[in-house]
């Protein structure tokens, strides 16, 4: 099983003729993705690795039927319009790769998505992968690299960092722990889908036995997850890696993602670690500690992986 996407999921790439989009189109196709069309206004009639290019999403729907998902890889200035276009054309799962979008615009995208029953992953993310099933986004890179880092198995991964999604998966894979679905949720202050919002999907997925997350300073997302875990009596043990501990001493400075800036006491790593540990989430200081922590959490529940 997987969450959010399956091997049958059809999707499109908006901004498909751009440098990054060309790359990720090839990478996704090589991993088996069903990309039915791409959009770059004014470039209708071209193709990118065999994927036909259209001026707008509507034309893809007309020619090929309703796609389920969209990867949005257009410059920040055009992202809101592209996302609105995807939503208004019936697309339900939207991965926004673009970064540096002001949060007011992200909030608008999320609000419209909520109105229309669509889900946004990102922005500033690398997308979703269910190993050996499908991927949607740049996560893992070229198909060969992706297969090397990601293997099928019982661990769900969520990460505010796209790169660290693969680092964690690769570490799990090396330790013999495969992954059910890994979601790069994005590093901005406002994102489409948070850890806590993904938890019900993992909770409902029989294949998933435990969760690993990458967390960092800034925002209340870890606190929200800790609350969710407590309130819902989750069956899934969670191990969190906490990066950016040095930032606690450097309030108001910006390191890492846009979402990391420490504005108040609740944003610090110390505070987050305390909240997560209080909710029973184990916190790792090094990535390589994650597999061991997961195994011991599972074996205390009588589950061996």
């Amino acid at each position: 099983m997987s969450i959010l996407i399956t091997a049958q999921t059809t999707f499109i790439v908006q901004g498909i003729t751009g440098r990054e989009a060309v790359n990720l189109t090839r990478e996704n196709l090589d991993y088996g993705a069903k990309i039915i069309g791409g959009v770059t206004p004014g470039r209708a009639g071209r193709d990118v690795y065999g994927v036909p290019v259209y001026d707008c999403v509507r034309d893809i729907v007309k020619a090929h039927g309703q796609p389920e998902g969209a990867i949005v890889s257009v410059p920040p200035r055009f992202t809101k319009d592209a996302v609105f276009e995807a939503i208004e054309n019936g697309i339900k799962t939207i991965v926004i790769v673009t970064e540096n979008i002001p949060r007011g615009q992200v909030a608008q995208m999320v609000e419209l998505a909520n109105l229309r029953g669509a889900r946004i992953i990102g922005p500033n993310c690398l997308g979703i992968i269910s190993p050996d099933e499908a991927k949607m986004g740049g996560v893992g890179g070229p198909a060969a690299n992706t297969r090397q880092a990601y293997t099928k198995g019982p661990i769900g991964v969520m990460s505010r960092s796209g790169g660290m999604t693969t680092e964690i998966a690769s570490t799990l894979t090396a330790a013999g722990l495969g992954q059910s679905t890994c979601v790069s949720i994005g590093g901005d202050a406002i994102i489409g889908t948070s850890y806590a919002e993904l938890m019900p999907f993992f909770e409902a997925d029989d294949e998933t036995k435990a969760i690993a997350i990458y967390s960092e300073p800034g925002g209340r997302m870890e606190a929200e997850l800790a609350e969710w875990v407590k309130e819902n009596n989750s069956r899934l043990p969670i191990v969190a890696f906490m990066a950016g501990r040095f930032m606690d001493e450097m309030k108001g400075m910006r390191f890492g993602h846009a979402g990391t800036i420490v504005e108040g006491k609740e944003d610090t790593t110390a505070e987050k670690i305390e909240r997560m540990e209080a909710a029973g989430i184990a916190v790792a200081e090094r990535i390589e500690e994650i597999p061991g922590l997961i195994r011991s959490a599972l074996s205390s529940k009588g589950i061996e992986v």
């Binding site: 440098r19 990054e20 790359n23 920040p76 540096n100 002001p102 949060r103 007011g104 992200v106 909030a107 608008q108 609000e111 419209l112 109105l115 690398l126 740049g138 893992g140 890179g141 070229p142 690299n145 992706t146 880092a149 505010r160 960092s161 796209g162 790169g163 660290m164 999604t165 693969t166 680092e167 690769s170 570490t171 090396a174 590093g187 202050a189 406002i190 948070s194 990458y214 960092e216 209340r220 997302m221 929200e224 890696f241 990066a243 950016g244 501990r245 040095f246 450097m250 108001g252 400075m253 910006r254 390191f255 890492g256 993602h257 846009a258 979402g259 990391t260 090094r286 990535i287 390589e288």
Partner: protein, 401 residues
């Protein structure tokens, strides 16, 4: 990106929010003249970006122009959280009947903007939230449905304000909401918002923060306020080195090789990406390394961008070696980064094999990348060496372990 009080007030004035008579002054003589023109008691405030200036002694009161001149001299040298005043704002001091608090910000959990309103202004709002939660309202509003004054009315009414005070407050709060949206602010706060003895409302102090990502959309406003492109408006002003790093990133839109922050160590860091940099910086510090800088590469930067960043870091006095490290990469390419750092070393007149302490970037196109590194004799490692261990190897080479 934070605005100084005088800049915030200039923006408030531009949009018709009620303010006291005020003037930015840069000498005691100017302060005296300004106080004379105001013609009554004044308040003298040091212009700093960090909070806590009242406690630090950067806010003083004066009854006469002579006192205003004296207090100017007293306030000017005050350092607030390591920050000296950019200038001094002198403002009329009016008799206050009551103080309110209003703030518009983003709620990352609800993913909506929220108006915080309190009839207990002037004090720490987190304290109000804790001790008098019924005096602090939180009113979320839509960013896509039509906006109207009712949001302001509900925010104010929720703490029990009614009568003519409610009707006078609504347009002020509504304007603040509009400012917040129009200028892509992450925070628009008025505290205190004062009701004077004569029944008028005025903004006593304000605090605006603009989202860094939106600066390009508001060039006209920033120019009008005199805020230069190089002013990062973080907790401290940027160094020359950091400004040069920002330029490396800005001249080429392909990927990121920036967010350079200067430290005083001997190990130059070319690290990435967003999360990986935080992880690696922690790992270097934990193992006794002395970073010369923080930075982030990612999003598949061009070869030349990596090259220029490498040259910049190698040009920093005191940098002995560089460590090139990232998490397993997906869209950034190992071979492109390898080309960039090697070319950067060579153009800086250094031997890559000597000056690169460790290259640990596994992932996309690593086979090509490792061939390039091997050819130039650079020590590299794959994913079987953890980020922590790779950072440890670099630290060991610096003799600081």
């Amino acid at each position: 990106m934070r605005f100084y009080e005088y800049e915030s007030k200039a923006l408030f004035a531009k949009h018709g929010l009620p303010l006291g008579t005020r003037q930015v002054v840069n000498s005691a003589a100017e302060a005296r003249a300004a106080a004379e023109a105001i013609g009554g008691p004044t308040v003298i405030k040091g212009q700093v970006l960090s909070g806590g200036r009242m406690k630090a002694g950067a806010v003083k009161f004066a009854d006469t122009p002579d006192e205003a001149a004296a207090e100017f001299e007293a306030v000017l040298p005050v350092i607030v959280n390591g920050e000296s005043a950019r200038s001094i704002l002198i403002e009329e001091k009016s008799p206050i009947a009551h103080e309110y608090f209003v703030s518009v910000t983003w709620d990352g959990r609800r993913k909506l903007p929220v108006v915080l309103f309190s009839d207990m202004g002037g004090i720490d709002i987190e304290e109000v939230a804790e001790t008098h939660p019924e005096h602090l309202s939180r009113t979320h509003f839509s960013t896509i449905l039509p906006l109207s004054e009712r949001v302001a009315k509900e925010a104010i009414g929720a703490v029990g304000v009614t009568g003519s005070d409610l009707n006078k407050l609504v347009p002020i709060v509504y304007k603040l909401i509009q400012l917040f949206l129009e200028y892509d602010l992450t925070l628009a706060e008025i505290n205190p918002l004062a009701k004077l003895d004569d029944g008028r409302f005025i903004v006593l102090d304000g605090h605006l923060d603009m989202e860094a990502e939106a600066r390009g959309d508001h060039k006209a406003l920033l120019a009008e306020l005199g805020i230069g492109d190089d002013e990062t408006r973080q907790a401290r002003p940027p160094t020359e080195f950091e400004i040069a790093g920002a330029r490396v990133n800005a001249v080429d839109h392909r990927g990121v090789a920036g967010n350079v922050v200067e430290f005083d160590g001997n190990l130059g860091l070319i690290i990435g990406a967003g999360g990986g940099s935080l992880t690696l910086f922690d790992a270097v510090r934990k193992q006794g390394g002395k970073p010369a800088n923080y930075c982030e590469i990612g999003g598949n930067p061009s070869m030349s961008k990596v090259k220029n960043l490498t040259k910049l870091i190698l040009s920093k006095p005191g940098v002995d070696k560089i460590a090139v490290m990232m998490n397993v990469v997906s869209n950034t390419r190992v071979d492109i980064v390898a080309r960039g750092v090697i070319k950067g070393c060579i153009e800086a007149g250094k031997d890559p094999a000597e000056v690169i302490a460790i290259f640990r970037i596994p992932g996309a196109w690593e086979d090509e990348g490792f061939k390039i590194l091997a050819k130039h004799g650079v020590e590299y490692c794959d994913r079987s060496v953890s980020m922590y261990e790779a950072a440890g190897r670099a630290c060991a080479k610096m003799g600081s372990n």
